[in-house]
């Protein structure tokens, strides 16, 4: 295992400590229990937004703490949901009296730990609502399973709900916007290479030199299907078509096209994939209103990418365009 680390057990603490110094203008970091809070939290009268989950997906979530997006992020151990304690601490830290929204990716661990924290916060008199993101079409949705994973759509939910909260909407309204974004977002990913969890020391799976995983998640979990490497355009089609069919997206729709790198993918490849995705959408009569291309929700050093489509409405566009000032997403200020 080759990593720029000192000790597998200290990776998250040391990295968050660096993040705290580098972005002291935007965030404050509390180390015990570890959570990252917007420098000016709590903001009286504003709905607080907290997200979190296992580490290894950076810039998600700490990179999205700041004006117009999250009020706090709770980083767990690598690929391990945080426990309720830091989630509760973060929830209290950002409560400005208007309630707190938890944005939770749909993984059993995240859901259970956030649930517990929400219960405890409720007992302390803080009103908490949770929105669970589950946009990954690679996983079959069913009442009898753990359901779909929350992946790329989570970033979009955090940005748009964050803007809604910043503009003073109520907890119910912010939660409704978040739900609408999640309901209109679909994603699918693939990997060229696996990743290695520091404490595991071994790659999450192995792939032959000519194989790729289709339908990969963001935790180094193997995907649904292993195929031979194909040209980029074919791979894009393989990800995009299940997405398009699922909602479904239709001619005339306006969308945000999000091409996301898994952490080890160079930009040159992401834009190349973006080109094909844009071409397919144009053929289908779908208009790209907004774009996001880069490593925004990752899986350590994994090479690969995911595509997320979000069907937009005017309100979502307005919130997407609203100013945001975080370590990883910034515009308008």
């Amino acid at each position: 295992m080759k990593k720029i680390i000192n000790d597998p057990k200290r990776v998250v603490d040391e990295s968050v400590a660096g993040f705290a110094i580098a972005h002291a203008d935007i965030v404050r970091v509390v180390t015990d229990p570890i959570h990252v809070v917007r420098a000016d939290a709590p903001i009286a009268g504003k709905v607080g937004i907290v997200s979190g989950g296992g580490s290894g997906h950076e810039p998600l979530h700490a990179g999205y703490v700041g004006f117009g997006m999250l009020d706090a992020a709770v980083p767990g151990a690598v690929f391990t949901s945080p426990t309720p304690d830091p989630i509760l601490a973060a929830t209290k830290a950002v409560d400005g009296g208007a309630g707190v929204l938890h944005i939770v990716k749909n993984y059993t661990g995240d859901v259970l730990n956030f649930e517990t924290a929400a219960e405890l916060a409720g007992a302390d008199g803080i009103e908490v609502r949770a929105v669970v993101t589950n946009d990954d079409v690679a996983v079959k949705d069913s009442l009898y399973t753990a359901g779909r994973r929350g992946v790329g759509g989570t970033v979009l939910v955090e940005k748009i709900a964050g803007a809604a909260a910043e503009q003073g909407l109520s907890l119910d309204e912010v939660a409704a916007v978040a739900e609408r974004v999640n309901a209109n977002a679909r994603s699918m990913g693939m990997a060229l290479t696996p990743c290695t969890v520091p404490h595991a020391g071994e790659p999450s799976f192995t792939l032959a030199e000519d194989e790729v995983e289709i339908g990969i998640g963001i935790h180094g979990e193997p995907g649904r299907e292993r195929i031979k490497l194909e040209p980029a355009d074919k791979i894009v089609d393989r990800l995009l078509h299940p997405i398009l069919e699922d909602l479904p997206y239709a001619s005339g729709d306006r969308v945000l096209l999000f091409v996301n790198g898994m952490g080890g993918t160079p930009q040159i490849e992401l834009y190349l994939a973006y080109r094909r995705a844009a071409e397919v959408l144009a053929e289908q009569g779908i208009t790209i209103e907004r774009s996001l291309v880069g490593n925004y929700i990752t899986s350590l050093e994994m090479q690969g990418f995911s595509i997320t489509l979000l069907k937009l409405d005017d309100e979502m566009i307005r919130y997407w365009d609203a100013p945001v000032q975080t370590a990883a997403l910034r515009w308008g200020r």
Partner: protein, 215 residues
């Protein structure tokens, strides 16, 4: 001969040892059908319990130990296993209440409450390829052993053996809950890491009971 606080403490120490020993094995099982952290998570949790055992006030009961395990796992493990095991130990603790010595029936009730806690939190059914598939046969075996008049140690032995068999029996299953469910059919052919850790913990309980650490 009932199981007392010494058994409970010994169970925890043995649990920490066995989880530590099998850390890499559990990580590898989880790498195959999950995200490769189960061994690390469990090890972190039980290592956090150990020092707290020393601070247990005099007169503590098995139920106090179980509660200590519950709260520590909840606040240190994270992931799916943290809340699930946490709830199991919490419910187990409630089930035995303030009793100072547990007989076969009490142990069977403890296990049943633990299993029910896992199901209440995780909503998994038997055959979903989760830790429930180790706990449910264990609970059933414990119940019939207890009904047959077995003592606490014998009840735990029956439970441990059934849990071990249950863990092995998860191998052919297709997962419907937890991270392995994302793999669909590809999850078959691998043992569920949580079922395996459950079997290890129940084995530790049985060994602690048979090892005369109880009064």
């Amino acid at each position: 001969m009932g199981l007392d606080i010494n058994w409970a403490v010994d169970w925890v120490r043995r649990s920490a040892d066995v989880v530590s020993e099998h850390r890499v094995e559990l990580i590898n099982l989880d790498r195959e059908i999950g995200d490769g952290d189960h061994g690390e998570n469990m090890d972190r949790g039980f290592q956090a319990v150990l020092p707290k055992l020393d601070d247990l006030p005099a007169g503590s009961t098995p139920g106090d130990v179980l509660k200590l395990v519950a709260t520590t796992l909840i606040s240190t493990v994270g992931g799916a296993a943290g809340p699930l095991y946490g709830t199991a130990y919490l419910r187990a603790s409630s089930a035995v209440g303030g009793e100072v010595s547990l007989d076969g029936n009490a142990v069977a009730a403890l296990l049943q409450a633990g299993r029910d806690g896992i199901v209440a939190r995780g909503k998994a059914e038997s055959g979903d390829k989760t830790m429930v598939d180790a706990w449910t046969p264990a609970v059933d075996a414990a119940a019939s052993a207890a009904a047959g008049g077995a003592d606490a140690a014998a009840v735990l032995r029956a439970a441990a053996d059934a849990a071990a068999a249950g863990a092995v029996a998860t191998e052919p299953l297709v997962a419907r809950k937890g991270r392995a469910s994302y793999l669909g059919e590809r999850s078959a052919g691998h043992r569920d890491p949580g079922a395996q850790s459950s079997a290890l913990l129940l084995e530790a309980a049985a060994e602690a009971a048979s090892n005369g650490t109880s009064a």
